[in-house]
């Protein structure tokens, strides 16, 4: 695990996949402060108030007040994630969140020569 300098979280980040790690390295390289999965947004509760659906975006950029969700799924398979994002925006209209699709990550990889193989 790299020695991140712009990481602003408490616990060491445990990335779900290589694309998240590479995104973290890019943010760190450019000195943009970032946190990893700091917030869970409740999207739906049942009648007893139990959480039935939630969304935890991958990154939070405090200086930008922006959440970033990274997905390596094909564009055709991100419908569920898009639906969650739509619900988040409806329930939390003041929260700024951006979804980085596989294509966006590939563009970053082409430009920055990221290692996304695994």
């Amino acid at each position: 695990m790299p020695d991140f300098q712009a990481y602003r979280g408490q616990e060491p980040p445990r990335f779900a996949n290589r694309a998240e790690l590479e995104c973290a390295k890019v943010l760190d390289y450019y000195g943009v402060p970032w946190q990893y999965e700091p917030t869970t947004f409740v999207l739906e509760e049942d009648e007893d108030g139990r959480i039935v659906e939630a969304f935890k975006p991958d990154f939070y950029l405090p200086e930008q007040d922006l959440y970033v969700e990274v997905t390596v799924m094909k564009q055709s398979l991100v419908t569920r994630k898009n639906r969650k994002l739509r619900k988040l925006r409806e329930r939390y209209p003041d929260v700024r969140v951006k979804l980085f699709y596989k294509r966006d990550i590939e563009r970053l990889a082409e430009r920055y020569r990221l290692e996304l193989a695994s």
């Binding site: 300098q5 760190d28 000195g31 950029l61 930008q64 430009r111 920055y112």
Partner: protein, 170 residues
């Protein structure tokens, strides 16, 4: 082909007129990060019909930093030769997408006390922005999410000299 040399020149001349109008009597300094913006800067400078300065800097690319091993941070490979204190500075970018590079540049150059700091970019992909709070005052073309070569843009250091802008087929 995405943009012909005529379309590029027409837009660059328009940008030059806007800059000349907005910075009249202020002798701005055009600052271009190497390398891709050098063609745009050369044309833009000749289209800005007021006295102005030109300077260059070069940033270590992310790929070069990652290849060097250890923990990499962005850094200047070549610094400006010009003092910025008291100057009106215009960063001349080839393309802005995530805004990470320009954000770093603005933070770094702001520490040198310029009177003002703005950016002009030939190409813009605003829908890919991660950093929003940037002084992008002048935009040549808003472009789709494609890779380009020509007019300063390269593929492994080739094709920068092409006078038109081409979409790179993957």
């Amino acid at each position: 082909m995405y943009l012909t040399r005529e379309e590029l020149q027409t837009r660059v001349r328009e940008l030059g007129r806007e800059l000349a109008r907005d910075y009249a009597g202020r002798e701005p300094l055009l600052v271009a990060p190497l390398k891709a913006s050098f063609v745009f800067l050369a044309d833009l400078s000749r289209a800005v019909a007021i006295p102005h300065g030109v300077d260059f800097l070069e940033l270590a690319s992310y790929a070069a930093g990652a290849d060097s091993g250890g923990h990499a941070r962005i850094r200047l490979l070549k610094d400006l030769d010009t003092e910025l204190a008291g100057r009106h500075v215009i960063v001349v970018e080839d393309v802005i997408d995530t805004g990470l590079t320009l954000n770093y540049l603005c933070k770094t150059l702001s520490l040198r006390d310029p009177v003002s700091l703005a950016a002009v970019t030939l190409l813009d992909r605003p829908y890919r922005r991660l950093v929003e709070d940037l002084p992008v005052r002048y935009v040549g073309f808003t472009v789709p999410d494609e890779l380009f070569v020509g007019y300063g843009f390269d593929l492994e250091e080739r094709y920068r000299n092409l006078p038109d802008l081409h979409v790179l087929e993957s």
